[in-house]
Subunit: 352 residues, 2 copies
DNA sequence: TAACATAACGTGTACGTTAACGTAAAAACA
DNA sequence: TGTTTTTACGTTAACGTACACGTTATGTTA
């Protein structure tokens, strides 16, 4: 409980500059009423002692709240992936709430670009001091991000990046490498000549660069490792199970030597269900810690799930904004989540 | 930027209770000097208006330094495992520094119980307000922990637990399950009849319950999975490479059908070196993200490393103490780290 | 030169909480 | 009874920042 002795803050600056704290305050806030000479002197001292304003005192003095606005996909019935980032955001929200941070949530429908634009408009209307964005639709997001940057509001991307748009940081997966990892895991459970099938299931495959990057990584691994296993790709645009079942069975008939599947997103549980129904014991690798996926992992129908800490992504994103605004530290330009392998023997400790 | 209008805080409580804020403060902090009647009245009002102290004001008012004391093994030349928790601790230290938290470091030698006791004594002498402890030596640690608990200093265990001793939380691995995972990974790359060898390398094996638990988990997996692969254990007490080499080669001669090794700690790189030297291509699974291990992972000599986020352990431990002391939230009684699988395809993103 | 304007700076109060300090009254003791 | 101790409070000065307002000094104009 030793009292601090360091001299910091406006008072110390004022003392060194032989002015009052009022003057220092004016310099800090770029208000007029200070001669150029004193302004320079004070700025010099600010540099010298590396002055970091005490955000606590500041918030206390201004007695205002900070609004953080979140714009992410809504949790759909089809996949509960976004519950995890949301949980992380909420947890972080609890922790920073006492610093006057209030989180406002806006959700959009992954099937509707219109809903994205609407939600973005609402978001901007409530004048947030920080924004967390999952830019699923590239063009629409880019437009919104440009406006955000004009307003000079700190912005964090989550789950997908818009590398050309300036932002505080991107927090999310590195897709290519995760595809490579999927390939390595697949190669563990197949023989020399076995065929492999990559399954992309998405209504909007053309816009879903996630899947493409993963497939590229997957194929690159086999290339680089000089593994000659034939790899075919099956694109499925209708995500309903009946339609998927039909496609998969057809493809299996055409490629009877397929021994392993790689599903490039979290819909791997659909494939697992189908394989189980037809008593198939193919190797199966897919994505994401969803309940329905975990069940098939325990079951043995899915061999590996790859996961990139969705909850942590949300948590870290809020924390990055908080730390930025409170001058605690600045994040890296991009934070790539570790690429985790989930098996039936380690899933229990994954989200504790 | 909306101004708050609510009437909250000690002032409002004092107004409602017809007392001064000083009295309210005494009630809030459970200090004496208040009659039971007023205390009750105030507590009632606190409940009523659901009083949440303003942490910013609080932090500002108690401009005190909090000393956190850390007692962990020193980074040895032999293994740099402890650099990772240390990094995590330092990072957390940076982040909480502006709340007046100062971290003091004490290190002990893993080969010397005496050094542990000495360091612990020094630590207690500087009257820390929170302690982070890696209780490697059970008896010595227990004695120290008892004294710490008498002093009512919040304490977090890291890496190993002392379940019988009260503590704020334990942050570290769950060893049994990690052994099971090692077994699953081993089973991926061996055939039906292949033999497996578990290698424990430790000068003080009897005290190293870590290794024992992992071995138990490993064997349990094979039992539960009805896999009949013979498993033998090789205990090596002399950790020098020459001695390990001799032991391993001897054991290999006696068990020529061994196709896979499981090294129960981070010294797996020693075994990798030996196997490489003798051109052996056994399957090899071991522990920890150390540089020397990663090199053999890239090399292909090690198939999998299991890792339990050492850096995060340190980070979370400090944060748990900080959040406890600042009433942000209380941790779970035990926080088991996810059991991560590191391969040559995902190690790059593990510690970013 | 008086009256006034403005630039440049200082002062005071507030934010909500903490804790040291002061004090009146009650209780304990001689 | 008087004296000391204890109990139960109230008062007040910080903490670092923000900002309205007050105060000089230095012009500028009538």
């Amino acid at each position: 409980m030793i009292k601090k002795v360091e001299l910091t803050g406006v008072k110390e600056i004022a003392r060194r500059a032989n002015v009052s704290i009022g003057t220092v305050d004016r310099v800090i806030h770029n208000r007029k009423g200070v001669s150029d000479a004193t302004r320079q002197k004070i700025n010099l001292i600010i540099e010298e002692i590396n002055y970091q304003p005490n955000k606590m005192a500041s918030l206390l003095a201004t007695k205002r709240n900070l609004n953080f606005a979140i714009l992410i996909p809504k949790v759909s019935a089809e996949t509960d992936y976004w519950t995890y980032p949301l949980n992380g955001i909420e947890q972080a929200g609890e922790e920073v709430k006492q610093f006057g941070i209030i989180i406002q949530y806006f959700f959009y429908d992954l099937d509707s670009r219109g809903s994205f634009n609407e939600a973005a408009e609402e978001l901007l209307n409530c004048n947030p001091q920080a924004i967390l964005l999952a830019p699923s639709f590239i063009e629409e997001s880019t437009a919104v991000v440009k406006r955000i940057n004009e307003l000079n509001i700190p912005l964090v991307f989550i789950n997908s990046d818009l590398p050309k748009q300036p932002s505080l940081t991107y927090i999310g997966p590195e897709l290519y490498q995760s595809g490579r990892l999927a390939a390595q895991l697949t190669s563990l459970s197949i023989a020399h000549e076995d065929e492999i099938m990559i399954i992309n299931i998405s209504t909007d495959l053309e816009n879903d660069h996630h899947l493409v990057r993963k497939e590229q990584g997957f194929r690159a691994y086999f290339n680089d490792s000089k593994l000659a296993n034939p790899i075919t790709t099956l694109n499925i645009y209708d995500t309903h199970i009946g339609s998927v079942e039909k496609s998969v069975l057809e493809a299996l008939q055409q490629n009877p030597n397929v021994q392993a599947f790689f599903v490039t997103n979290s819909r791997v549980n659909i494939v697992a269900k189908i394989l189980k129904k037809h008593n198939k014991t193919h190797s199966l690798v897919g994505y994401d810690f969803l309940k329905s996926n975990i069940n098939y992992l325990i079951d043995g129908q899915i061999n590996f799930l790859i996961c990139q800490r969705p909850k942590e992504q949300g948590y870290l994103a809020i924390m990055a904004l908080y730390k930025h605004l409170f001058n605690i530290n600045e994040p890296e330009k991009a934070i790539y989540m570790p690429i985790d392998i989930i098996t039936k023997e380690n899933y229990r400790f994954y989200n504790s």
